[in-house]
């Protein structure tokens, strides 16, 4: 099994305060991995490191054969201006950016793929609606459709099911399964252990440093969860100076 992503002694953080510490791990190609851990454990930070938004304070991330275009990233929703007058169709179609770029037009065949993606997430009939009129769940469906069109080898999802109802979650988990079947590598930050147990073969547990990584059943043990909680509750004040750097 080849590794599509390697974290080598990776430390990521903001303003010299590390949020992820000395992470050493490999993500296998085609794996479906959940990233779990308490709030502030560095899960979103890790994804931002993979997308290149954050540069490592120390250590590195190496990609197998992947380039920037092979990564699709679905952040937590806050950055989208929902009041902007753009339709669902236009939002989803932007998933084809890699093919159409800033100037290209949509060919009929590509229009067909956009329609397929919209139907795959159950939003058919909503194409012309402005994104401001969508509910939280519908918006998340639209964003999944956009990721579908990005056709990426590595899919990063940051808390995709937070504040999303059961039915929408189930539908979208179906999409995640489809990516897995198609051989894509998926990394998803999740809080719902039930969903993780049911859908995700692998799990990585973080609490600023790696707690455990491997088959989900081995990782989601009571003992690991207890360890993660106590590590995350340790005060943040000593985070600035890292003793192990000297060693």
């Amino acid at each position: 099994m080849t590794a599509v992503l390697k974290f080598q002694n990776l430390t990521l953080g903001y303003d010299r305060h590390p949020a992820v510490h000395h992470l050493q791990a490999e993500i296998a190609e085609g794996s479906l991995t959940a990233i779990v851990g308490p709030n502030g454990a560095g899960k979103s930070t890790l994804l931002k490191g993979v997308t290149g938004t954050l540069t490592p304070l120390e250590g590195r991330i190496t990609f197998g054969a992947l380039g920037r275009d092979d990564i699709a990233y679905l952040p937590q929703q806050s950055d989208i201006d929902r009041s902007f007058p753009i339709s669902v169709l236009d939002l989803v179609a932007m998933g084809l950016w890699r093919e159409i770029g800033p100037f290209g037009r949509l060919h009929p065949q590509q229009r067909g793929r956009v329609a397929d993606a919209i139907s795959a997430v159950g939003l058919t009939g909503f194409e012309g609606r402005p994104i401001g009129s969508l509910s939280g769940g519908q918006m998340q469906r639209a964003l999944f459709a956009r990721v579908l069109l990005q056709d990426a080898q590595l899919v990063l999802l940051d808390e995709p099911f937070t504040a999303i109802d059961v039915r929408t979650t189930a539908d979208l988990l179906g999409v995640v399964r489809r990516w897995h079947r198609e051989g894509r590598t998926v990394l998803a930050v999740l809080h719902d252990f039930e969903a993780v147990r049911e859908y995700f073969p692998d799990t990585m547990m973080l609490a600023r440093e790696l707690v455990a990584h491997g088959p989900t059943a081995d990782v989601l043990t009571a003992e690991n969860q207890f360890r993660a909680r106590s590590m995350a509750e340790a005060p943040d004040t000593d985070a600035e100076i890292c003793v192990r750097n000297a060693a």
Binding site: T51, T53, D69, I71, A72, Y73, P75, D79, I80, D81, F84, P85, I86, S87, D90, L91, M94, W97, R98, G101, P102, F103, P130, I131, R146, Q150
Partner: protein
């Protein structure tokens, strides 16, 4: 009657025709930029940039007298400098864009007033501040139309990245390296539009023809295309009526045009079908599901 009031002034006087042509060019070039300023919640940025171009125009005036070419180039340089500096400070330090822009435009404005006042009479200062739409010569008109064309063309070129940069900047950054290019090109577009309009309307009034039609358009259209078309229509109608008012009642033309645009905004606010006050007040039955 209508002939006398509306057509006659333009038929009889070349300066009125020139003024109208100049205003139409400004409307087409600047109002769409105003729509994006509004959608990006940067309406006041336009105002700040309008003040920022003053020292450049003043330096141009200092070297070449009341030459539009020199003042345009100077204004462009001053505007771009402020845009780049504030963009740079925003991206490199903890200061937010509004604060860094405010700091630079205030410095720029003070510098501009200082330069203008050392060399010229108040009349010249008034020209720069309030414009001379009724005195556009051939060179000014050509310059104005060129800048409007440049602005419209650049906006068309930037359209998709710009929409994405407004709606979902994080996504644009994740799929393309165009985010910073788009942001700075858009600021350049704002400067170009302002410099184009300040010949005619003055630095203080130039921003009015960008923002007021855009704000009015918000009450008539929902999509981006509709907003742009509505803004251009409002701007052209305001220019036409403003010029006629200024002709018939001997009013200064710049403020007259902007006041009509302001009136159009107030009327849209009240009567506009998209979220206007009357529509909101009317009881509406919701659809059966």
């Amino acid at each position: 009657m209508i002939w006398d009031a509306v057509i006659q002034p333009f038929a009889d006087f070349g300066f009125m025709r020139r003024a109208l042509l100049g205003c139409i060019a400004i409307s087409i070039g600047a109002s769409p930029v105003g729509v994006f300023l509004m959608l990006r919640r940067m309406s006041l940025t336009g105002d700040a940039m309008a003040h920022a171009i003053l020292p450049g125009a003043a330096v141009g005036y200092l070297f070449a007298g009341l030459s539009l070419g020199a003042m345009t180039i100077g204004g462009m340089i001053a505007g771009m400098t402020v845009a780049l500096l504030s963009g740079f400070v925003t991206r490199m330090t903890a200061l937010r864009e509004d604060a860094s822009l405010a700091a630079f435009y205030l410095i720029s404005l003070a510098l501009g007033v200082l330069i203008v006042s050392t060399r010229s009479s108040n009349v010249d200062l008034m020209h720069v501040l309030f414009g001379t739409v009724l005195a556009l010569d051939d060179a000014a008109l050509i310059l104005l139309c060129s800048l409007a064309s440049l602005s419209a063309f650049t906006l068309a070129l930037l359209f998709r990245p710009l929409v994405l940069e407004c709606a979902d900047p994080q996504f644009l950054r994740s799929v393309s390296g165009l985010s910073a290019v788009t942001h700075f090109s858009f600021l350049a577009l704002v400067v170009i539009s302002l410099v184009g309009s300040f010949q005619a309307l003055g630095t203080l009034m130039a921003v009015g023809i960008m923002i007021l039609p855009a704000a009015a358009a918000r009450f008539w259209a929902t999509g981006i295309g509709g907003l742009i078309v509505a803004a251009i229509v409002v701007a052209i109608l305001a220019s036409l009526s403003g010029l006629l008012l200024s002709y018939h009642y001997s009013l200064p033309s710049g403020p007259a045009i902007i006041l009509v645009a302001g009136l159009a905004y107030v009327l849209s606010l009240v009567f506009g079908p998209v979220g206007g006050l009357i529509v909101r007040a009317l009881p509406r039955h919701h659809f059966e599901t």
